[in-house]
Amino acid sequence: MDTSECLTDQQVAQLLEGGERPAHLDAHLDRCEACFALLAEAAREDACAVEDLVAGRYRLLDTLGQGGMGRVLRAHDTVLDREVALKILRSEAFGAEGLENARARLREEARCMAGISHPNIVHVYDVGETDGTVYIAMEYVRGASVQSWIDGDAPEPTAVVLAFAGAARGLAAAHAHAVIHRDVKPSNMLVDDTGSIRVSDFGLARSSGASDQERGFGRSGTPGFMAPEQTAGDALCEATDQYGLARSLVAVLTRGRSTGAAEGLDHLDRRVAGVLRIALAGDPRARHVSMTAFAEALERAVRPRRGRWVAAGLLGAGLLGALVSAPEPDPCATMGSAIDEHWNEAVARSIRGALSQHTIGRDPTFAASVERTLNTHARDWTEYAPALCRKHAQHPAVTRCLHEKLAAYAVVVETLSAPTDADLQAVPRTLSTWSLHACRDRADDGAPPLPRADVERLARAEVLTDLGRLDAATALLDAPSSIDLAPSVRPAYGLRLALGKATIAAADDRVDDARGFFFAALLDALRIGSVAGQVDARIGLASMALRSGGDTHSARAELDQVTALLERVPDEQRNEEAALAWVDVHELDNDPQRALDTLDATASNSLAHRAARPGLLLVLGRYSEAVVAAQGLTDALEAELGPRHPRVGDAKAQWAAALTHSGRFDEAVRIAREAVAIYDAASESPLHGSGWSLDVLGMALWRRGDDDEAKEAFERALSILPKRDPSYGIVLDNLGTLRLRAGDASGAEQAHRAAVETLRATHGEDHHEVGLAHANLGEALYQQGRFDEAERAFVDGHRMLERALGPEHPDNASLLFGIGKCRMKRERFDDALAPLHRATVLREAVPDAHDFLGIVRYAEAIAVERATGDIPRARALVRAAVADLEAAHRLPDDLARARAWLEAHPP
């Protein structure tokens, strides 16, 4: 081949079949992008649907199995550099359930499963779907399934029973997350190289659909492991899995000779048979009370009476109801009890005492929730930390992570022993982010190990920052490192230190400092190749950009990078942080719709996520949805934090605002009063929330017609809020409106002009709040008979609102009505028709907007009458207006006027 000649299709095909390479091929490819692209693209020859779907991330190694549901492949996750098992599910496998439902359910269950980290469960990493093919990436377990114990060599019976007890504990962990396996059978249980059973394939089977399909795929020859309730199509419960597990154990112990449920038990050890007989009860309620109880019963049945197993009663008051093994000569074994020092009955008692000193802490819901969470975390620690430690003994990052978690736990407990109000507000969030699950994948970070003392110090500083104790956090970070760090470790330490300092600076409102630290962190993260570090630093940089003058451009650039990084290394928690940052970007860019879409696209149900929703729905004019969202948020926060927590106040204020917008004024006033009361009771009340709740109350009162009380609420809000608070201008605006209602049009004009100025400063030129302030200013001018100026204000406001919220937003209606009525005053009836009609249409979409609709329809009728003389049409409009005004109850004068018109214009 000549170097200058391009490749033919045949040559390309031959090259890919392993044909000889011409000498100058590389030289030609280097110069000819067309040939390069053709050869490169065609080299993806074997790209089947599966490879396409996982392109760029998984490299397929071999096929592990093929079944009715699809294929299982062994693959290499090139991003996290680990082997995974990829289960490729054929869409036909979902049968009647349909791909849509199956995908949603699988995603949901995978999300649940991803939250469960247990040594007896095959870890689910990821679930995805492309071109009708659903795939699940899960931990690759080298070894055969329990079926091989039936077919061939099983360990001795005691070992089998103990292995099944382990499997039961794995299933118990899933049950604790409300995931039922539904299809426990030997082929779904893998045996790893330590002989432990790892339960796999959660949620793949349904009582209908897939399992029918599986039977259809010729599985009828294998013994049925389905519980009676499953065969009967009744509701499944945790005990269903117990049945399947017990049947599997019987099958192994009898080498598959038993075919019926109870058959074969007679040949087994009496104690084991007794335990299994209960688990195999026909009525699910007659089985062991829980999977954990089943596990314990199995263990008791085969352990020698003297027992090496001790109950954890010594940990105090039965708080940690788990079993821990006696000390072994293994550094991980003592890890489980390391938590006892930080959490025991004495500590719990002292925390209860300390909480009772505070308004928030006295709340029984709050105290119970905190204690429950500390218990759960302690139990998780006792159960999983030794296993994680042992399993990843060769990965220092996992041990480091465990040390961090323990230190973080200790700081929270110490803080709760002598908390401030601010601590109590921060603790629930800090506790909610504590999870050992994060440690499981830590081995992949690649950062060199730090000395334990430094790890703990950094972790403590992080929690202190989270709790708002910035001075203490800074002091910890500024302390010199415990030993002289090796050069290879410095970037890893530097990364953590820089992130810590950045977070402190950000919490302290030192935005420029924070930016500098995040930059330093990014550099170190890049240097050691830590993706997590890069993501943290970039999200930090994005937030700082947003905070320094709303620089959404820089923030977008950073977050684009974060998105790309998280695509390669999925991380649920960081994903949500990034999503919330995107929400901020869109909000600042006056794109609430996009912000809401972003929010809705994250699968998270966390409080931070839920807290952002009602406000966006409100801005978008989706008021009834906002009511529901805010009410749900309030309930969730109350359950988590108790009814007197300021964040509950915040949620209630949003709820009340949504109610007001929906025209439900009585409810709005009640909820807003509750919000105000929460802030009044809190000893260190946040100014913003306090002022804002008063504003919402004022608004609700005003809309209900209680002007004096409303004015009082607004004035109190103005006395509390700092002038640069985003609510200040809004309250000012509302006060102006009240003045107008009291007949003080020039006083109102003054307040509205001040409001426009303040809002421009706090919200930016084209913000919808500025637009709405223009609406009110227009009204004040209109009342003074300055119709030209008023029209200009309405037009300006409408332009801003349209730009900020889009032309379909119902708030446009007020401004359009303003424009229309100014034009009518100037007798430009023709020009008034369009805006009035548009106002009606926009407002018709809002339920309970009768008062407004009545007035606008009446105005439109008059415009129709004057502009076109079309009396029948005008009449129809007035009739509709009368109906609206009758429904509104609140506007007797307008109603009378409309009725008079009807009488004057008989049909």
């Binding site: 390309v12 390479r21 080299a43 550099l523 990078q561 390669r568």
Partner: protein, 287 residues
């Protein structure tokens, strides 16, 4: 009586395999693979003569010409009923995967139609492309390459830079803010040095980087492209990257007078995954 291939090619003494027994039976078997297409033994012989006369170097066996697939080619060129359906059933299986790569540009049906047209419709006195199928590879593999070219042509016509880049947005970041601090510090130095170093690489090394960074190819894809084992590709790439890093390090120190540790932090960027965007940009500039 059928014409034998030997008789038809009596002048080709170089083709010893034509004298072997069973050649004619193989031809009959090829014809009976598609009995419903009605391709005659003689028509296949004429086709094979045509193919053999065009082949350089001369084919080494009858199998190398894929007689069964040539039957299909004859049927299609003779526009026999059912021929196109048979062709598609035999050789169009890979089109779905190709269509997926050009998703957004055309549907699978559109791609199939364009491939069909390209293969079967003669253009300005040139024969249909199907007639040029010499049997050097399987018909399916060859059709797949034809389809890839169709896709790339469409992508080019569409003014886009090819399906790959859309499929792998993360490999080609539009903005890379981690570089703005660097740009502030070193302005164009870095990119100039990188560009010079990329230019200094061998064609193959540059191609390797381009395949991995710009086209996002896996080691396995690249192994197919270069016809070597993936371990070899991995070794080549490692060496190339080390060479590039060393060259950039030297170049940067010479150009900017940066200290070693400062250069190190720049180098760290090249090692890290995100820096692929920069290499991609550098490669775009050199080509």
């Amino acid at each position: 009586m059928n014409t034998s291939l030997r008789t038809a090619l009596a002048h080709r003494e170089d083709l010893a395999w034509l004298d072997a027994q069973g050649v004619e039976r193989q031809l009959d078997q090829a014809v009976t693979r598609w009995p419903s297409l009605g391709v005659s033994h003689d028509a296949l012989v004429r086709r094979l003569v045509d193919v053999i006369e065009r082949c350089t170097p001369a084919p080494e066996s009858l199998e190398a010409l894929r007689p069964a697939e040539q039957v299909l080619v004859v049927a299609c060129l003779q526009e026999r009923p059912g021929a196109i359906e048979a062709l598609e059933a035999t050789a169009f299986g890979g089109l779905r995967a190709v269509a997926r790569r050009f998703k957004g540009l055309m549907t699978e049906a559109e791609l199939t139609q364009r491939v069909r047209t390209k293969l079967l419709v003669p253009r300005e006195r040139t024969e249909p492309q199907l007639a040029t199928f010499m049997g050097a590879t399987s018909l399916a593999r060859w059709v797949r390459v034809v389809a890839v070219r169709v896709g790339l042509d469409a992508a080019r016509a569409d003014g886009r830079r090819g399906a790959r880049e859309r499929a792998l947005p993360s490999a080609l970041p539009q903005r890379d803010p981690e570089f703005y601090w660097m740009r502030q510090l070193y302005t164009d130095d870095f990119e100039r040095v990188l560009g010079a170093c990329l230019d200094a690489l061998s064609s193959r090394d540059r191609n390797l980087l381009r395949a991995q960074v710009t086209h996002g190819m896996t080691l396995d894809d690249m192994a197919r492209m270069w016809g070597v084992h993936r371990a070899t590709i991995a070794r080549w790439l490692r060496a190339t990257r080390l060479e590039l890093v060393a060259a950039v390090r030297t170049g940067l120190r010479a150009e900017t007078g940066l200290s070693e540790s400062e250069v190190d932090s720049v180098i760290a960027l090249i090692h890290s995954a995100v820096s692929e965007g920069v290499i991609a940009r550098g490669l775009a500039k050199t080509s």
